[in-house]
Subunit: 203 residues, 4 copies
Amino acid sequence: MSVAEKETGRIEAFSDGVFAIAITLLVLDLKVSAPAGSEGLAYKLVGAWPSFVAFLNSFATILVIWINHHNLFNLITRSDCKFMLANGLLLLCVTFLPFPTSLVAEYYGHPGEATAAILYTGTFLMMAFAFNILWRYASYKHQLLGRNVTAKEVKSINRQYLVGPVFYGLAFVLAFVNVSVSLVLTIVLMLFYAATASTSRET
Amino acid sequence: MSVAEKETGRIEAFSDGVFAIAITLLVLDLKVSAPAGSEGLAYKLVGAWPSFVAFLNSFATILVIWINHHNLFNLITRSDCKFMLANGLLLLCVTFLPFPTSLVAEYYGHPGEATAAILYTGTFLMMAFAFNILWRYASYKHQLLGRNVTAKEVKSINRQYLVGPVFYGLAFVLAFVNVSVSLVLTIVLMLFYAATASTSRET
Amino acid sequence: MSVAEKETGRIEAFSDGVFAIAITLLVLDLKVSAPAGSEGLAYKLVGAWPSFVAFLNSFATILVIWINHHNLFNLITRSDCKFMLANGLLLLCVTFLPFPTSLVAEYYGHPGEATAAILYTGTFLMMAFAFNILWRYASYKHQLLGRNVTAKEVKSINRQYLVGPVFYGLAFVLAFVNVSVSLVLTIVLMLFYAATASTSRET
Amino acid sequence: MSVAEKETGRIEAFSDGVFAIAITLLVLDLKVSAPAGSEGLAYKLVGAWPSFVAFLNSFATILVIWINHHNLFNLITRSDCKFMLANGLLLLCVTFLPFPTSLVAEYYGHPGEATAAILYTGTFLMMAFAFNILWRYASYKHQLLGRNVTAKEVKSINRQYLVGPVFYGLAFVLAFVNVSVSLVLTIVLMLFYAATASTSRET
């Protein structure tokens, strides 16, 4: 391995570690109270459905981000410290995600749900920005890309990457108006990304 | 390393991270109350035995799944995004496992233990399904397998992989009828997998 | 990389993950109560000294185990599933360690401290046994060792590895008699291993 | 890969694991109370601003340390057990960091904030010392450095590494006198390191 390959290798390893931990920590917010009182466990679990939806949505989103991150690093072969900081910004959003996830789970249907949804969609929006910064820095003048990456591919990814800021921006704005619609939009976006991630490599 | 090898390499690394974290988070559910009152610590620990059994069972099951995952990736040499999503489904079950584990530990012997056991065995059943999806997708028309993998090997693994859905399905059904028998069956299955995992490579 | 190297490589990676997480989870048991009442923070921190000693001791012990594990895998070049299970037993002890660590921290100086110390030293004893099983299985008839490992080296490690079971066994027995002496012995053993680990490679 | 490269490779992997986990565990200290009472969520979040500042500062500091660790291991190509212990000392500080971070977040603006700040800046100071020990041990008589590292580079890094102990020492002393100034200095230092890390490789 060349020094450069070792470099991106270690960034990938560190990022994978952060993704893996953040995705696993989400489970810590699934909690029901200890056995006591007359309320049955099944009833409690059903009542905690926003926790499960938030868990699934955040899990799937981090997974899709990881797949995209993975695909990106098939194109990027070099690294420098600014790039590492941009990657760090993305990781910051990923590690932060369990917090707004637990807020949405706890506050959905209670006063304060709008605030929780704003923070939740805002984190996704930040993530989309961070991903764009990462990619646009790496692809700027082709500085960190592999030789085999064509200008056409770069353009196609540029276009694809606009989806995130635009639609997560919409979800963010919707959170001020209608919490449920805003949260459903984040689920739709996650499904869209899962679908495009699974086809993008076959074209 | 070829691009393909790098690809499966990173999937393995990410999966290993998730396995390692999920297996280690299980310990966070082992808790006894602070020193207070007349009840001795030994007494409390003995009273918490379902926690310890659940911890050991979940730990060993994740370990066995990891060994099987590891063996599988000795046969799989390529990857695509659908495969990554199938792998993500398996990881979802693995990261989710600490939650039903803690429910079983807390609710065993209390009203609600059937619900906890249904969720626990249901998670194992989902895991068995996810493993089958992963393998059957990878081995379908030999698309992601290495060249040295024979059709006979594929058939043998196909047969072996039926054990999971069938017997975890049985444990799941039993959870509605008799919680203890159902939970003991998951322990027996874990021991069976540990035993076959440790012999499979010697044939 | 050959298949065999890839195999031990992934075992090391998974083990490193577990070591890294277990060593980092220890910090979660360091807690002082929120600001309230007249008791100062400095006073609370000083009163929590057993937590800090237990944290340091467990951290250093896992670190030393990791170094030894690392050194061991410089000698071991192949793997099979029984070996993976033996390694799993060691990892079980490592992931379990934060629990008795928190018990010792909480119960030291309270009734029940003997029970906590028995579980703590018992976990170390199990770890020493697991390490011996791992090594003796790998070195049995030289089956998993590299070609460059001499019979003399094997014998020397065999002897060295007796220290663990004997002295952690002693600490375990002492926990029934005198908790403080038993815990101090585990610290002395950790320092001994740190010292020998740091010289062993220079001879 | 030679044995030596495998060695530093595994140290890097283990360290990356610890960095990744410590950086991700920080989020666990972000908590607001459950929906209850008349106090709004937005109000609670604003009131918890010291938690967010402490989270961001600790996150960014660990990220910068990771980048520096990463750069260091581009120069270091060999390892021995003393080096591993020195690296362990650095990791001890990193895993410990979430604890003083949560103390600062909780105690800022309350009696005891000086104690919290002393522990927080003291941890940074220890980290700076550990980094110096690691580097000075590795570069002593060039014993663990790669052949391509020049004496001039070593001298330049020696000088650069004095910044940490001096300025974190200052922050530590200031914590006894003025908590806010001391904490702001740690943020300034983090920004300084981020800035120098991102330029250092371009000269």
